[in-house]
């Protein structure tokens, strides 16, 4: 009998210590640097380039700082792909100061005038709170379609950073860490085999990791070379 896998991915702890910053040193320094007054940052990059990690790490840092200093203002992380703007945002701009608002995959909310009007309100609120706005999207703000020119000009004026996906020499380390975060192991032999024959993009490897994760849970099997071959159809 096979294990029924519920569609709840395991959460991984995401902090700056666990982020491979090669290629993104300036961005990481900017995110970790204490900042006073309002600022807006727009992070863009491909899937699995590390945007979510950076947003969540920023939240972690901000929470840590506020708990130590007793500073006011809320720290919020909103995954726009999972929550509708009209559910997530209305409560925010009517309330307390926001120290840091992270909106992951914010492009999911853009293009719709009603959602953008809400984002505009929240933008104004963060501005008045002198907080930080951290947005992630697939494309630069200039390439993103907006419904409201007012919001477009504001977000296009945000400091834009391209998030560079991890370089090839870090893939093994990252895959191992991601697998461990999901509760299974990838030994060096399996990794060498996989990386030698697998796809040449980190995004594709991460998608395969998802598939392996589901398969190993479903079949209650350790990840071995034969298992990997079968799952990925490598002959």
């Amino acid at each position: 009998m096979s294990q029924l896998a519920l569609p709840f991915p395991l959460r991984e702890r995401m902090n700056f210590a666990g982020f491979v910053s090669a290629g993104n040193e300036e961005l990481v320094a900017r995110l970790r640097h204490a900042h006073f007054g309002f600022s807006a940052l727009w992070l863009h990059g491909t899937a699995f380039s590390g945007k979510t990690h950076l947003l969540q790490a920023s939240c972690s840092d901000a929470l840590h700082v506020s708990s130590r200093s007793g500073a006011s203002g809320r720290v919020l992380y909103l995954p726009a792909k999972d929550i509708r703007a009209e559910d997530a945002l209305p409560g925010l701009f009517e309330r307390a100061d926001i120290a840091l608002l992270c909106v992951d995959d914010c492009d999911a909310w853009l293009g719709d005038p009603d959602s953008e009007a809400l984002i505009m309100s929240v933008y104004q609120h963060v501005l008045e709170s002198e907080g930080q706005l951290l947005l992630s999207a697939a494309l630069p703000a200039l390439d993103t379609r907006f419904a409201l020119p007012d919001l477009a000009s504001r977000l296009r004026a945000a400091q834009a950073f391209h998030v560079t996906p991890p370089a090839e020499q870090f893939w093994a380390q990252l895959l191992k860490r991601r697998a461990a975060g999901r509760g299974f192991e990838l030994d060096d032999r399996v990794l060498d085999f996989w990386l030698a024959r697998g796809p040449r993009s980190f995004e594709a490897l991460m998608q395969q990791l998802d598939a392996i994760d589901a398969a190993t849970l479903h079949e209650q099997r350790k990840v071995t070379v034969p298992f990997l071959k079968r799952q990925l159809g490598i002959v």
Binding site: M14, K81, S153
Partner: protein
Amino acid sequence: MDSKNKRWRRREHDDNDSSSKELAGHGAGGSTARPPLRTDNPGASTQPLSETGALRHQLNREPSQEQRSGSISDTSADAAAGISAVRRHAMNTAPANEYGDSLDLSDAACIELLWQQVVGTLAEELGSADLTTYLQSGQPVPDGDNLLLLVPNRYVLDWFAGGGLELVQRTIDRILGRSLACVALVEVGGDQASPDNAPAQSPARPLRHGRDERADQDRSAKLNPDFTFDSFVEGKSNEMARAAAFRVAESAGRGYNPLLLYGGVGLGKTHLMHAVGNALRARNPEAKIVYLHSQRFVQDMVRALRTGTMAEFTAYFRSVDALLIDDIQFFANKLRSQEEFFHVFNALIERDKQMVLTCDRYPREIEGLEERLKSRFVWGLTTEVERPDLETRAAILINKAASHGVTLDTDVAFYIAERIRTNVRELEGALTRVMANASFSGSKITVEQVQRALRDLFVTHERHVTIDGIQRSVAEFFNLKVSDLLSPKRNRALARPRQIAMALSKELTKHSLPEIGDAFGGRDHTTVMHACRKVVQLREELPELDDAYCKLKASLTA
């Protein structure tokens, strides 16, 4: 349902079903998706709400036998009315703690301290996503012997309902070392309405956010002290607007009333508006100068309607000495807000109180705005803020850098200004990026450093050849205004550049002939065809025109 509970209700979205459907929230984003903490009470989270439905979850301080055994049960107290569940938790008695018996639930400071400890304790247990998205969204407020936990939306409510509340309760018990004689009430809508028994002046976040208390008394947003007339860089594009704003600041209420500044986004309208406000305040610190974005006006009005405080709302706005409202185009299609604003407008004008408004276009062009408002908005002085020319853009950059203590070389300023022509906001955004990069790399700001820092931005900008951009480049090249290119005038000094701009639009963009005609003041597509043919012919006959065309094309596509 009693009147108190009615007041706690929050109007839910009409499409509750879809909202409920999405509550599972398992996006395809792999690591980005986050599961609900627990889903042992699916009924509470997926139960469709009535139109006026509210969700109310309660930890009762008089647990039943069943609950004393530690289980959680839901009682649908009034499902039809939308009350979803009453939750009861066992209260354990345990040793005393640092609070001893002195925890005073009416003391906001105590509640705040306790909540910080709860968050700190659970920070380890929860992932940062849950912590920031859900737990931190909770706002504990004292309510007599009760502890109210306000949450902003159904997502957060469902997270608490799915186990978060139990976790919080356990943590509180652990921190206090004894059972807390309190009722935790989790409510959708939070501070949108005050409960009857809440402390009279208790905002949703009493300690952390003293600003909210202030906001209740003063609906105004803060004037930005950096936005003054001195820090405003004047050029041909904005000299009229600056002069008008300056005049208004000198003789508020007596001269141009209202002053309406309109123009594209990010060109300095808000800066001038704040400059007026700052100047008025400098002259009379006691004056009630209210600045706010039009959306805030709408939000405050909606809140006033909901809480039955419209009289206070209107009295507040009618009592100001100067009212500065940004982006009035957001009033479009909001009829009730327009109605209220209309009365506020009349009251202030009658009493010679100054109003300054900004808009992204000429008010008569706003669809969904009542005629009576459109006509009133242009009663006083209406002036356009245009896109700055190259020299003004460079001066803005130098000025902005100087305000940060950075000396920007003229060649660097021109290098950036030549490449970013959209608006001042984006220009300043680019400068911020350059300064941050220079600070990070410890390098001097040079053209090479700018190229490195703004590489991605320039590439994106250069890919974006738009009709708008072409019109600006051509106008700048021939020392004209964009409005000249769009005007019906047909004298040769305007017609030639217009034809060149049309030909470039045809060559460099994917717009159709009718679209190009529309973008040039609503001209016919045959006019565009004629322009394209004429430019081909003239380029063969007039080398200087061919040269101009090539230079423009090169600069647009470089």
